[in-house]
Amino acid sequence: MRGGLHIVRGDDSVLREHRDVLRRYALRLCRNPTDADDLVQDTLTRALAAWATLKPGTDTRAWLLSILHNVFIDSCRKQKQLGTKVSSELAHDLPAPQPEVEPRWAQITNAEVATAIDSLDPSFRDVYRLHARGEGYDSISRSLGIPKITVGTRLTRARKKMRALLFGEEEES
């Protein structure tokens, strides 16, 4: 908690720096600005509470995304239990999962990710790069002159290929 207080009183730029990323991902999961803001708020609250447990050298953004993921899964569970969307008050009552970045993600370097992207088939690589720059399916479809459904297929295959290259995971057909 001391770490969290330190951030609140002093340098909270670390969290502010990642707030936009968190909100973007929260929107992708919730598709609702209000729910997304609640999800980000809960994530930051838990991050502050667990700040002291953050190991030196840990990728802060990956760590925060892990917390966001855990909070979101909690909300899914609660939603399923109640048959309705969970409010932020109810979310606070849930047991806080231990936020940890999966070691394999923490160990991957940017150079390895860059090499993996460059190794992709150009047709997959172009789609994935455009998507990573914030382009939507429609925009990518128009830019590359391919059907929208093909954008989704190539994106899915690009991700699988990336994980196969980075972690040696088997690619499912």
């Binding site: 899964i73 899914c76 569970r77 989704g152």
Partner: protein, 139 residues
Amino acid sequence: MNSPHPDLNAFFDQQLSAEDADAVRTHLADCAQCQRELHALMQLDARVESLEARRPKVWTRVVPLVALAAVALLGVFFASRETPVTPVAPVVQLASARQLDARVSWREGDVWRPYEPSRGVQGSDSVSMTTLAALEASG
């Protein structure tokens, strides 16, 4: 191991209807495999986004190359251009004004002949055309 939910990627990319997205969220509540899959999608996309954000925009790489290519092409163009032929002064000086006159005023006069018209010039070294024509006619 079972395959993850077939709509998980589409859900993550916001391509599902609200109803289908809710179905995936319900599925995610209990499926540890899909939870891991979603986590992996988030981490992977975040890493790639971060890299793409650092990568120079296409135009910042293309514009200097295009400019360089344009300069090179201009250089090649000017280097290979034909050097304009400047009149060679001695040739002009060697030709007599009469010859030039003939060439300009009468197309058929622009041929070499072993004689040249005297045109009333007296005291010239050349033989008069009348004499030469008579000699030619007589063989």
